[in-house]
C-alpha cells in the first residue's frame, strides 16, 4: 500500500469530532489550480508566503458581512491578536464581533517575520492599518457606484455603507464583495483614520479567547490529535552538556523495552526517540530504554561559572564609543565601579513543548508552537530533505514561551520521528527535556564604571560585558547530524546600548563586548528582554550609588541626567504612581529582623521606555528577601489596547521578581542539574508582590513593543531597594537567602 493512500486527503483543514477526541485532518499537497475558472488559487492551496503586495493576502470579506484578517504574528498569550483586530476593525469601521484571524500557516498567512522583540504591534500595526484602510477605500468605491453617490458622501457603520446622514439605502461590505477576492495590489498609500475618530484603538477591549480557555473548550497544541498517529518521546541524557558536545550514543539496548507493547526505538545519528500507540507506553519506553552516553567534556559548573567566563579567551569588540572616556573620568567628582553577575535562566514554558508531524515521502505537515513558522519551515525542509514548498508548518498555541524555548527542537523531533516511523507522530517533551535542553538566556558578567560631576551630572560611563551568543542549531537537528561547521553560536548578543546607560545624557561613553566561545557553554538564545536584566542590574545600581555618594535623591539624580522627554516622562510616571518621596532617615529594623527599602530603576529592551519602583523587605536573620510591591511604567507610544499592556506589565514584573529572587540554571562539571520546578524554583503565590502597572499613552506616536521593557527597570529597582534597606550592594542574582546572608556578613550587618 502506498503511503500517500493511507490518509484521506481532505479539502481543507477540518476538525473532526471522533468520540470526543479532537482530530485534525489536513490536505498535505492539494492539487494546484483545480478550478480553472478561478484566477487566484484557493487560499491555503499553495505554499506561502502569499504576496504581501496584494490586499487579498491580508484581508477577506465574507458574505455575512464579517472579515478575516490574515496576520503572520502568533498568539503567545500576550493578546496581540486582539490588538491587531482592533487596528483592522478601526480602519474598516467594523465591530470587533465582525472580525477574526486565521491560524498562522505557511500556506495561508503572510510572512511578517517572527513574533519576537515585542514586534507584533510595532511592525504589525502599520501593515494591518494600511491594508485595512486600502480595502475600505476599494469597498467605498464600489458602494459609491451602487448607491449613486461619491465616496466623500458615504458613511460606514458596522460594515454597512450609506450616504452621510442617512441609514437607507445601504449596502454591506458582504454584499459588495461576498467571498470573492479583491484582486487589488496593496500600494500602502491609503490615508489612515485620524486619532480623534478612533472608536477602538486605545481602548481596553477584552480578549475574546478567555471564555474558551477557562471552560476547557480551547484546544492548545497539546490537545490536537492526528488520525492514526503514534505518541513520541525523545530519549536524551537528563540535562544537556556543553553545547558543542551534543550527546553521543555509545550503546543502545533495544531489548530493554521489548516488554512494552508496540513501542519502537527510532534513531538518526545521535537523535534518539521512541514511539508507541499509547502515550503512557511512549513515556515508559523513553524512561526505560537502556542507553549509555559518552562522558561529555568538562563544564565549569554553575558555582565557578563567572570565574571561568572571565578567565576564558574572549573576543573584544567595541559596541559603542563616544567622547573621551579618560578626560570624562578626570573631571569627575565621584566615580563608582561595580562588577555584577547574572545566571543562566530558563524559558521553561508551563506546558513542555509539543508538536505534531505527518511526514510522507514527498511532503510534510508540521504543527508546532514556533515563534516563526517560516523559519521553522526552512530548518525542517533541510532536516527532512524535502523542497521548501513541500513542507507546510502550522502554528499551534502552547503555553507562554517568553522567547526561544524548545519549540523548534520539538518540531524537528516530531518530524524526524514521523519520517522514521513512517506514520503521523505527536511528540511531547517531558518536564526534564524542556528544563534540561532549553536554549537558556545566557549568563553574564558586567563591569560598570561611571562618574559624575559635583553638581550631579553624569560625565563618563564604561561597560564591559562578558557573554556568549545564541545557539541557532536546535538540539534535534544537531544530534541527527547537522554538520559541526554550522554549530557556532551567532555573535548577535551583546551589550545593549539602550539599556546600558542609554537613557542618560552622558558625553563620554564606551561599551565593550567580550565574546565567549559558545560551544564550551550551555545552549543560549533569547529569553524575554535578553540580557537586559543583567545589564540594568549592574548599570542601575552604579547610577544609584553615584546619587547616594553625592547625597542626591536617586529619582532626582536620574531626572537631571535625562534629556529625552519620553525617558523623563516614564520616570515621572512611575515616581508619581508609586508616591516617590525623598527618604529622610535610615531604615529601621523591626523586632523580627526585617528592614524595608524602596528603589527606582530605568530600563528597556528596544524602542520603548520602561521605569520601575520596588518595595522590598529583607529579613537580616534568615536572608529572605520579600518584594512587597512593584510599580512598572511603560511608554510604548500609541497603545492599541491598554488593558493588554497592563497585563503585560503585570507579567513582566512578576517574572522579574522570580528571576531576581529565585531562578538559576544549575549545572555540575558534566550536565545541567536543574530539571524541574523543585530544582529550578520560580515565584509562588505567597511570594508574589502587589503589582501596579502604569501605561503612558501617547496616541500621536507610533506604536512600539510593550512586552519586555519594565523587566530590566525592575531588576535595577529591586537591587536598589535591597541597598536602601540594608546598605549593602548585591552583585549577583538571584538574591537567594544564602547569598544575602553572605553579603550581609561581609559588610558586618
Amino acid at each position: 500500500m502506498s503511503r500517500t493512500a493511507r490518509l484521506p486527503a481532505l479539502p481543507r483543514r477540518e476538525f473532526l469530532k471522533a468520540g470526543g477526541a479532537l482530530l485534525v485532518g489536513f490536505q498535505l499537497q492539494p492539487a494546484f489550480g483545480t478550478s480553472p475558472a478561478r484566477k487566484t488559487p484557493e487560499r491555503g492551496s499553495v505554499a506561502g508566503p502569499p504576496d504581501p503586495k496584494q490586499i487579498d493576502t491580508w484581508l477577506a470579506i465574507h458574505a455575512d458581512n464579517t472579515a478575516t484578517l490574515y496576520i503572520g504574528f502568533v498568539e503567545l498569550g500576550q493578546g496581540s491578536t486582539t490588538a491587531l483586530l482592533q487596528v483592522a476593525a478601526e480602519e474598516l469601521d467594523l465591530d470587533m464581533e465582525q472580525i477574526r484571524t486565521a491560524t498562522v500557516d505557511t500556506n495561508v498567512t503572510p510572512n511578517q517575520g517572527g513574533t519576537y522583540s515585542s514586534a507584533a504591534i510595532q511592525r504589525g500595526r502599520p501593515q494591518v492599518a494600511l491594508a485595512a484602510a486600502e480595502a475600505r477605500g476599494a469597498l467605498l468605491e464600489r458602494a459609491a457606484q451602487r448607491l449613486g453617490s461619491s465616496v466623500e458622501q458615504l458613511q460606514v457603520n458596522k460594515g454597512r455603507v450609506s450616504v452621510l446622514g442617512h441609514e437607507r439605502p445601504s449596502v454591506s461590505y458582504g454584499e459588495l464583495v461576498g467571498e470573492k477576492p479583491f484582486g487589488l495590489a496593496f500600494s500602502g498609500t491609503a490615508k489612515l483614520k485620524s486619532i480623534d475618530r478612533y472608536r477602538l484603538v486605545g481602548k481596553p477591549i477584552a480578549r475574546r479567547d478567555m471564555a474558551a480557555k477557562v471552560t476547557a473548550r480551547h484546544s492548545y497544541i497539546q490537545h490536537l490529535r492526528l488520525p492514526r498517529m503514534l505518541h513520541g518521546r525523545v530519549v536524551r541524557p537528563r540535562g544537556q552538556a556543553a553545547y558543542g558536545a551534543g550527546a553521543k550514543i555509545l550503546s543502545l539496548e533495544e531489548s530493554s523495552i521489548a516488554h512494552i507493547a508496540g513501542a519502537r526505538v527510532l534513531r538518526r545519528g545521535d537523535f534518539l526517540g521512541v514511539v508507541a500507540p499509547r502515550e503512557w507506553d511512549a513515556v515508559r519506553a523513553a524512561q526505560q530504554l537502556k542507553v549509555s552516553w559518552e562522558q561529555p567534556p568538562k563544564l565549569p559548573g554553575s558555582d565557578s561559572l563567572h570565574e571561568a567566563m572571565q578567565a576564558d579567551k574572549s573576543q573584544e569588540q567595541v559596541a559603542l564609543e563616544r567622547g573621551n572616556l579618560a578626560s570624562g573620568f578626570t573631571g569627575a567628582a565621584r566615580s563608582v565601579v561595580a562588577k555584577c553577575y547574572g545566571p543562566y535562566q530558563a524559558h521553561v514554558p508551563f506546558a513542555p513543548n509539543c508538536a505534531l508531524a505527518d511526514v510522507r515521502d514527498d511532503a510534510a505537515l508540521v504543527i508546532c508552537s514556533s515563534q516563526d513558522v517560516y523559519n521553522a519551515r526552512r530548518s525542517l525542509a533541510g532536516l527532512l530533505n524535502l523542497p521548501l514548498e513541500k513542507v507546510r508548518v502550522q502554528y499551534g498555541e502552547g503555553a507562554g514561551t517568553f522567547g526561544h524555548s524548545c519549540y523548534d527542537d520539538a518540531a524537528q523531533a516530531a518530524a524526524l520521528l514521523s519520517q522514521l516511523a513512517q506514520a503521523p507522530v505527536r511528540l511531547q517533551f517531558m518536564r526534564w527535556d524542556e528544563h534540561g535542553w532549553d536554549t537558556y538566556g545566557p549568563a553574564h558578567v558586567g563591569e560598570v564604571r561611571a562618574a559624575a560631576t559635583a553638581d550631579g551630572r553624569l560625565c563618563a560611563y564604561e561597560y564591559h560585558g562578558w557573554q556568549h551568543g545564541w545557539s541557532l542549531v536546535d538540539t534535534s537537528a544537531q544530534l541527527s547530524g547537522v554538520a559541526a561547521a554550522e554549530w557556532p553560536p551567532s555573535p548577535v548578543q551583546g551589550v545593549n546600548p539602550l539599556a546600558a546607560g542609554g537613557m542618560y545624557d552622558i558625553p563620554n561613553i564606551k561599551l565593550v563586548n567580550h565574546r565567549l566561545p559558545g560551544l564550551n557553554y550551555l545552549r543560549g538564545a533569547w529569553l524575554r528582554s535578553p540580557l537586559d536584566l543583567s545589564f540594568c542590574f549592574a548599570s542601575e545600581q552604579v547610577i544609584d550609588q553615584l546619587a547616594r555618594d553625592l547625597r542626591m535623591d536617586p529619582y532626582q539624580f536620574r531626572r537631571i541626567n535625562i534629556k529625552d522627554e519620553r525617558w523623563r516622562g516614564v520616570l515621572d510616571a512611575v515616581a508619581s504612581g508609586a508616591g516617590w518621596a525623598t527618604r529622610t532617615s535610615a531604615p529601621r529594623m523591626n523586632d523580627a529582623g526585617v528592614v524595608r527599602g524602596r528603589g527606582i530603576g530605568l530600563g528597556t529592551h528596544l524602542v520603548s521606555y520602561g521605569a520601575a519602583v520596588a518595595d522590598v523587605e529583607v529579613n537580616v536573620r534568615s536572608g529572605v528577601v520579600r518584594i512587597t510591591h512593584l510599580y512598572g511604567a511603560i511608554d510604548a507610544g500609541a497603545v492599541v489596547n491598554p488593558g493588554n499592556v497592563e497585563s503585560q506589565i503585570t507579567g513582566q514584573l512578576v517574572q522579574t521578581a522570580s528571576r531576581l529572587l529565585k531562578e538559576e540554571v544549575t549545572f555540575d562539571e558534566a550536565r545541567v542539574t536543574s530539571l524541574d520546578w523543585a530544582s529550578y524554583p520560580i515565584l509562588r503565590f505567597e511570594e508574589c508582590p502587589d503589582i501596579t502597572p502604569i501605561v503612558v499613552q501617547r496616541l500621536d506616536q507610533r506604536s512600539t513593543g510593550a512586552g519586555e521593557e519594565t523587566m530590566a527597570a525592575a531588576a535595577g529597582a529591586i537591587a536598589n531597594a535591597f541597598f536602601d534597606a540594608t546598605g549593602v550592594r548585591m552583585t549577583r542574582y538571584p538574591l537567594t537567602p544564602s547569598r544575602v546572608l553572605a553579603a550581609l556578613a561581609e559588610r558586618g550587618r
Binding site: G77, A206, T215, S647, T650, Q655
Partner: protein
C-alpha cells in the same frame, strides 16, 4: 498489562482500557479526550493536571487510574455541574463563578495553568466561603503560573467569593 476499568468522571461512568498503573491524566486526556486536565510536569509539582476526586484537588499526573475506581472524578469540564450540585441549583450554570471572575479580571495570559487554578480555587471556595488574601495565597501556593498572572487570580478568587455570597443572600 491492559485491563478494563470503570471510572466515574463528571458523573458519567466510562469503561476504559488501560494498565492499572497508568496515571489518570493520560486516561482523561487520551481515552476520554478531556481538555481540562493537561500535562505540565508529570511530577505533581505544578498543578496543571488537577482534578477533584470526591471533591479533593488531586494531581492526575501521579494518580494511578485504578485508584479512582469507586470514586467520583470532576474535571474542569464538569465543574459548573459540580458547583450546581453543591449549591442545590436547579441546573448547572454556564460557568463556575470563578471562571466568570477570571474573565472579568481579564486574568489570563496563555491560560494553560488555569485548569489547575480553577480546580484549586473552586475547592477552596467550597471549603471557605470568604477566604482572606493570606488564606487564598496559602491554598494556591502549590499551583504555578509562568506568565506571572498571580495578582489577577488572587483578585478573581476574592471576586468569585463575593459573587457566591451574593447569590446566597
Amino acid at each position: 498489562m491492559t485491563t478494563k476499568l470503570n471510572i466515574k468522571v463528571n458523573e458519567h461512568v466510562s469503561a476504559v482500557s488501560a494498565a492499572p498503573d497508568t496515571p489518570l491524566l493520560y486516561v482523561l486526556a487520551d481515552e476520554l479526550a478531556l481538555k481540562g486536565p493537561r500535562f505540565g510536569c508529570g511530577l505533581a509539582q505544578c498543578g496543571s493536571c488537577s482534578v477533584l476526586v470526591d471533591g479533593v484537588e488531586t494531581r492526575a499526573c501521579v494518580t494511578p487510574v485504578a485508584s479512582v475506581q469507586g470514586k467520583s472524578v470532576t474535571t474542569l469540564e464538569g465543574l459548573p455541574a459540580w458547583y450546581a450540585r453543591q449549591h442545590k441549583l436547579p441546573q448547572a450554570p454556564a460557568m463556575h463563578p470563578l471562571q466568570q471572575a477570571l474573565i472579568d479580571e481579564q486574568a489570563l495570559q496563555c491560560g494553560y495553568c488555569y485548569n489547575g487554578m480553577i480546580i484549586k480555587g473552586a475547592e477552596l471556595l467550597a471549603r471557605n466561603a470568604a477566604p482572606s488574601d493570606a488564606q487564598i495565597r496559602q491554598a494556591m501556593n502549590g499551583h504555578l503560573c509562568r506568565c506571572g498572572t498571580y495578582p489577577r487570580i488572587l483578585r478573581a478568587i476574592s471576586r468569585a467569593a463575593a459573587v457566591i455570597a451574593g447569590e446566597r443572600t
